[in-house]
């Protein structure tokens, strides 16, 4: 049974999920989760390890397809379109719903090529000049341009961990997505790099719908406006972040917030 806070009813939904279940073989990892993701806010998924929040996030760009044993049921819509429908190509879906992973995973190519990778694949730029514009814009939005503009030909893997993660965010931005999924994007970074990523998320919100999975409640409180609490594959409570942290309705949410478990 999911508790949804009342005062967030008609915000419109970028992503609409209804009765979504995910199975890993016999095991049910996600149990009938329904949620509306607002286009204007940062939504955080929190919960103890193994609660299924990352698995659920990966449903939105169908990354669970790449795991042979995983099976997703239920309805997920992006702007009212069924993402599993025959008219939705997974390649197009992933161009519209970008993703940033837990560990920075730049390609072993130059910084420039890392950013240009997506636009080239999706045919967003024909000319080198257009590509240059996209690369500069993406790196600027990711707050990395000033740090790397003189060494765009250096390998992306030579950057520091925090810079690598911002490079991955810039890479995701480069194909101009509508939604950006972030799977614990700062968990492998030091506090200073984490602060920069959080700042960046703040700047990007509004332009993109952002969904972030985090194991840090402080981070969720800092960067998000909406929070969903997951436990044992179910969504327990979903509401405005301030409400969830100061005035949770469900007992389990309260216990988790106050550090009783997790």
């Amino acid at each position: 049974m999911t508790v949804i806070h009342p005062n967030m009813a008609d915000e419109g939904a970028k992503i609409r999920a209804r009765d979504v279940c995910v199975f890993y073989g016999e095991k049910k990892a996600i149990d009938e989760v329904s949620i509306d993701i607002s286009p204007n806010y940062v939504t955080a998924f929190i919960g103890p390890s193994g609660c299924g929040k990352s698995t659920f996030l990966r449903c939105f760009n169908r990354m669970n397809d790449t795991i042979g044993a995983a099976k997703v049921t239920g309805l997920i819509e992006l702007d009212g379109e069924d993402i599993h429908g025959s008219r939705m190509d997974v390649v197009q879906l992933r161009a519209r719903v970008g993703m940033v992973f837990q560990k920075p995973n730049p390609f072993p190519k130059s910084i420039y090529e890392n950013i240009a990778y997506g636009p080239k694949i999706h045919g967003l730029a024909d000319k080198k000049a257009d590509l240059d514009v996209i690369v500069e814009r993406s790196l600027t939005r990711a707050g990395l341009w000033d740090e790397v503009k003189d060494r765009l030909d250096d390998s992306g893997t030579a950057l520091s961990g925090g810079q690598q993660q911002r490079l991955c965010i810039a890479r995701a931005i480069a194909v101009d997505p509508e939604v950006i999924l972030m799977d614990e994007p700062a968990s492998a970074l030091d506090p200073i790099a984490t602060a920069k990523i959080e700042e960046l998320i703040d700047e990007l919100s509004g332009r993109y719908a952002i969904v972030i999975v985090t194991h840090s409640m402080q981070q969720a409180a800092r960067v998000s406006q909406r929070t969903a609490f997951f436990h044992l594959g179910k969504m327990v409570e979903y509401g405005p972040t301030s409400e969830i942290f100061t005035n949770p309705i469900e007992e389990r949410t309260k216990d988790y917030i106050t550090g009783r478990y997790g």
Binding site: M63, N105, P108, K109, Y117, G118
Partner: protein, 461 residues
């Protein structure tokens, strides 16, 4: 008889020492926790056994070299040997015959002159065998007694035994290294001898190969020892034709197996593919020589080629390429599997298709490992002998036409060293020079390839 008998005696005594050591160590067990012995009884037992056996083994090794000479010396000192007729070669033959009869390896002598030497040989063998056995037993007893007396509750038998085992393991690993060094040394030695007759310049850069085995060793024509046609043939067959076959097929099968194949299909195909590497090369050889080569010739003739040979480079190269496929594919397989899954996910999450991900991310990332795999495959192909001996030609032609007969370094080495050759003829020595060049090239290829692989591994760890 001697060495085996002596070793058996040592092992028997070692067993006794083992039992004695264990019995003594058991008596240390008092049941008092504060007085617990430093090592368990089994280690005391092994300590004594090793002290019995190892010194004996050292003695046997030395004795088996010394004893035959001692026997010979004592026989030669007898009046029967002094009165022996004949010189040099003939005399040695008599002595050898008498020894064989004395050891029971021959029923009787052929030359009657050897007859009187049999009895002295028998005496000498009997004497030195007895000496050998007595010394063996004495050494075993001395070693065992020494070790036995050292056993005390506080004696650290375990560390001693383990250190000894460690040393034995070290010696075992040294055998392989020393053998390699020995091979290398003998190659260098013979190569230097060859270069004393034919200059390295003529050998390495000459364009004509045709060693004249019948020419007298001191009237050698250096211009017949130009190895370039052989180097070219080796590279053409092993590094060009074979790789044209092996690289695409190997890489494609690796891509299929790592990226597309259903795990159940992979579980079947991968072992089958690796089975190819286990086929004896001589089997590939006759497939190349008897099946593929005539087929290629017939096709070529049907297409209008006039000089197509049944010993074409093409047949040998294609079959060698097939043989090499598993090497290329398993190295490529490993390298692509070593690329972190996060990189693949990153590309897929950008909306790249599976094939775009393979082409643009996985393959470039795995490239160093793949290149190293190909280098190892080349080094294996150019050193490969049996296929080319059977399918390639003896005639060293300098040609780029794959339908013509071409010879390789390994084929010539086999030719020059098999049969009854004079060991100091330059034609024979040239085989060592060829082997030396081959050794250096494959060594360099392996060295570079392994370094690349190592750096590549480090990059992702």
């Amino acid at each position: 008889m001697s060495p085996i008998t002596l070793i058996l005696i040592a092992i028997g005594l070692g067993l006794l020492g083992w039992l004695a050591g264990r019995a003594k160590a058991w008596s240390f067990q008092t049941g008092d926790a504060a007085m617990r012995p430093a090592s368990r009884p089994i280690y005391h037992a092994w300590y004594v056994a090793l002290w019995v056996v190892l010194p004996v083994l050292a003695f046997v090794a030395a004795w088996s070299v010394i004893a035959p000479n001692l026997v010979l010396q004592s026989v030669l000192a007898t009046p029967e040997a002094q009165s022996l007729t004949g010189f040099g070669f003939e005399r040695n033959a008599f002595i050898g015959e008498a020894r064989a009869v004395a050891l029971g390896q021959a029923p009787g002598v052929f030359n009657t002159e050897a007859e009187p030497l049999i009895a002295p040989f028998r005496d000498a063998f009997a004497r030195y065998n007895t000496i050998g056995i007595i010394v063996t037993v004495l050494i075993a007893l001395a070693g065992g007694a020494l070790a036995f007396l050292r056993l005390k509750p506080q004696f650290g038998a375990r560390t001693k035994v383990e250190r000894t085992v460690l040393t034995i393991l070290l010696l075992a690993s040294l055998v392989a290294i020393l053998t390699t060094l020995g091979i290398f040394a003998s190659l260098v030695f013979e190569t230097v001898r060859f270069f004393g007759i034919v200059s390295p310049i003529d050998f390495l850069f000459g364009l004509k190969w045709g060693p004249d085995i019948l020419a007298p060793p001191d009237a050698v024509d250096p211009s017949r020892y130009g190895a370039v046609p052989l180097f070219w043939g080796t590279i053409f067959i092993g590094a060009v034709i074979a790789m044209v076959v092996a690289i695409p097929l190997g890489l494609m099968s690796a891509i299929y197996l790592t990226q597309y194949a259903d795990p159940r299909v992979r579980a079947w195909i991968k072992p089958l593919l690796e089975l190819l590497a286990g086929v004896p090369t001589v089997v590939y050889g006759y497939f190349a020589a008897l099946t593929l080569a005539p087929m290629i010739r017939n096709v070529a003739v049907a297409l209008g080629a006039t000089n197509a040979s049944t010993e074409s480079a093409l047949a040998a190269g294609i079959v060698m390429g097939v043989m090499i496929i598993p090497f290329v594919s398993s190295m490529a397989d490993d390298s692509m599997a070593a690329v972190p899954g996060a990189m693949r996910d990153g590309s897929l999450a950008m909306g790249a298709t599976k094939s775009e991900t393979i082409q643009r991310v996985l393959f470039p990332a795995a490239l160093p490992g793949i290149v190293a795999g190909i280098m190892l495959a080349v080094s294996r192909a150019i050193g490969e002998t049996m296929i080319v001996v059977m399918a390639a030609s003896q005639a060293a032609n300098l040609t780029a036409n794959p339908l013509e007969p071409i010879s390789t370094v390994t084929v010539q080495i086999v030719n020059l060293l098999t049969g009854e050759q004079s060991t100091d003829h330059p034609a024979t020595l040239s085989a060592y020079a060829l082997g030396f060049v081959l050794f250096m090239v494959t060594l360099a290829l392996n060295f570079v390839a392994l370094r690349v692989v190592k750096r590549f591994r480090e990059a992702y760890e």
